[in-house]
Amino acid sequence: MTKRSATTSNYSRRDALRMVGIGGIAGLIAPNLLGKPVLARTSPAKPTGRVIVGLGQEPTVFNPLMVHIEVDDGVHFSVFDALFRVDPQGVIQPNLAVEVPNQKNGGISEDGLKWRIRLRDDVRWHDGKPFSAEDVKFTLELITNPNFRSWRTAGHALVRDITVVSPTEISWRMEEAFAPYLSFLTETFIVPKHILEKEANPNNAAFNQAPVGTGAFKWGQRVAGDHLELVANTDYFGEGPHIEKLVFKYIPDLTVLYTQFKSGDVDLVGQPYITPDHYGEAKALPNRVVTLVPRPSFESFYLNLERPQFKELAVREALYAAIDKESIIQGLYYGVPTPTETFMPRQSLYFNPNLPLHEFNLNRARQILDKAGWLPGKDGVRAKDGVRLSFTNSTTSGDPLREQVQQFLQQTFEQLGAEMKISNLPAAVMWGDFWVQSQFDSVIVGSTYLIGADPDVTNRLHSRSIPAKGGRGSNNAQYSNPEVDALLEKGARSFDPEVRRSIYHRVQELVRRDLPFLPLYQSNAVQGNKKGISGVLPNGNTRTESWNALAWYWAS
């Protein structure tokens, strides 16, 4: 959170008044008053104005613990608070907790098993009831309630013996040391015990349609299929909110979403943002700020390593060298995405900037294959030991940009002597067994590897996570490297960011060397807002543009 990490001392009038009200030193040491973000310097004295965020999908799930999609996150971040927040630099900051626990401050025991969290004492639910450790306990228990349709249970399932030490302190034991859990807790919003404990069936509770949180915005009203309105919580314990109303407007057609941004009906374009084909035009719009914002999603030419064509590293290296990334990005993607060599988003603390850079070089690609014994056959397609260098490539049908990429690659691969057949499938088929059980040769896929901001990618790259071999993760490339396995296990147990940094740098090096997937690019969102809105701070470590709506305000 910028508001706590920033060190400037330019207090707004509102803060000054608040400090006078609280009086003296007690007020000074409250973490939210220790600093104000530079951007909020001229925020209004009381919440004023309204911001309309346009979204391409409709938020419908307002119980933040229930299974939901990305677009619901904006509402959750505004209405609720988690114990921690992750800032744009990937650093975890306290939110409902007073501090981030670690092994140095004793919040996490040396063996990583015992956790103790101290909570703020000045937080109230929107209905005026005080927030306490009981709410945290209730939340963590609800997530693993077998009758509750909860979202992610990874990490939470390891929590045992939750104890409320006092209203402002809670502790628990972990079944095994699991460092990523801290990051999972940044996306685990705390729900009120006093409301939900009365519900016989939490899946259909009235709360789910009119949530009560501790966040900077209270539930206002919802017009289903159209928009929902949140109103400022003037008793919020932290900085903000500075706007009186936050509106999420649902606009299903992406061209219309952009048009309404252009016409001024929408103040800020949220997910799925402005389409790349409108980027050039949008940049030139008067009184609009249009920026490229890094998203965690990573696009790759993803290989099934159990296919005989791809088993040999030389083949993967040659194919990679034959990909003209620059032409794809500039020519087909309007220059929007950023080329990358790794699955780790570049805004992450753990991004390795020293990986070897890809170079498009068809001659080198040919040499690699020649040297490895993959020689052209009569039909022009290379082969070795009876295996032809021929494979299919699939992606979600109806995605014209990806289909163009496929055709482009098909042509370059042909010059190399590799035959690529295109076989696209509807999304629902593609991401079913075809993907999960590794029934593909190769796919073009864009997906996020990290959960929250944690660098742990066990689920994606550990050999234990291959569903086609009975594993429980999503290592669908069937990548297996004992050194990577060992590093991932060590990384998940380690709580020291510096130790973990070197571990995950090495993982990225190994994966870049082994090429289980050919890295293409990291996605950027074309985000746009009206010029007058200040405080909009993109955060690629969250899934939503509205993670800090509490800091937004209209510059007068």
Binding site: I52, A154, Q209, G225, A428, W431
Partner: protein, 316 residues
């Protein structure tokens, strides 16, 4: 009359059962299912997906799922949305008024304008007006509605700035005038197709009526052309239109898929598309049954009205 109604009711029940079985089967045959959208979520494990599948009852055999659903429906329980857990009837009722407003306006416009064009086209057959109307109707029927919608937004919103670019009302306003302002473009675009249909039907029906013996008789008796048209021709030509209106009645409440999407109108058509996209089976099935009931009702009402209006027809 009671015998007729009873007969119709039993037919309707059979129809609803067939519709629901087909709908349920087709829906469940679609690959992927409600959990596919979470397949790429890095935090959701295979275990989470299996747990959800069990909680939603998706791991049971299809026929058991169907019987369970049907039995609940008979008892008045339409089920709960997979997406947000609210009851299906609540979800439907949240979208009903928006659709009624849009469809009601556009249908009223379409009937008025379409009938007028149809009658005038028939009485001035092969005139310039008739040719223009025919060509216009062909264009309106063959060009997709979303294209008219987007062109409408481009011209009347972005270039001229006369009407808003969609939405049912401006957030924070919501006065009657504001609603009307927002209603203009979508209802005109939507009525375009309906005007085309109505005018074609009306033209044919009027032409048909014009050649009837009673028209000739009236002319022979020296009745004025105006009176012939209004009393004898239009009255008779409107009879088949009642049936057409009956067929169109359900769309008043089920909405327009494309137009509602282009104009961000929060109606039933968009609800259907969205629910289909999320594989929200209970809501899709609810909408299907709801539309089927409306179709049955629409036809029934049309039959009764025709019988009441036309003394030659008796219900038995």
């Amino acid at each position: 009359m009671p015998g007729f109604l009873l007969n119709r009711l039993s037919q309707s029940i059979v129809l609803l059962v067939i519709v629901s079985i087909i709908g349920f089967t087709v829906l469940n045959l679609m690959p992927g299912g409600p959990l596919a959208q979470f397949g790429l979520d890095p935090g959701m494990t295979q275990k989470d997906l299996e747990r959800l599948s069990e909680q939603l009852g998706l791991n049971r055999p299809l026929w058991i799922q169907y019987l369970d659903w049907a039995w609940r429906l008979v008892q008045g329980d339409w089920g709960h949305s997979y997406r947000d857990g609210s009851s299906v009837l609540a979800v439907i009722s949240r979208h009903l008024l928006a659709t009624l407003l849009l469809m009601g306006t556009s249908t009223a416009l379409a009937i008025a304008i379409g009938s007028w064009i149809g009658i005038r086209g028939a009485t001035h057959r092969y005139s310039l007006f008739d040719y223009c109307a025919t060509v216009g109707a062909m264009v309106a029927l063959s060009v997709p509605t979303f294209w008219f919608g987007l062109i409408g937004i481009y011209i009347f919103t972005l270039k001229l700035g006369w009407v808003p670019a969609g939405n049912m009302y401006a957030i924070g306003d919501g006065s009657v005038l504001d609603y009307l302002h927002h209603l203009i473009l979508p209802s005109l675009v939507l009525s375009l197709v309906h005007v085309a249909i109505w005018s074609r039907y009306m033209r044919t029906a009027t032409l048909d009526a014009l050649t009837q013996d009673f028209v000739k008789t009236a002319r022979a008796k020296g009745v004025s052309e105006r009176r012939i048209l209004l009393k004898h021709v239009v009255g008779n030509a409107l009879l088949p239109m009642i049936t057409l209106a009956g067929v169109q009645l359900p769309s008043l409440l089920t909405g327009a898929l494309v137009t509602e999407t282009v104009f961000t109108w929060p109606g039933m058509g968009r609800l259907f598309l969205d629910s289909l996209g999320y594989s929200d089976y209970p809501v899709v099935m609810g909408l299907l049954i709801f539309s089927a009931i409306l179709v049955v009702l629409g036809n029934l009402i049309a039959d009764i009205v025709v019988a009441v209006v036309d003394p030659r027809i008796r219900l038995s």
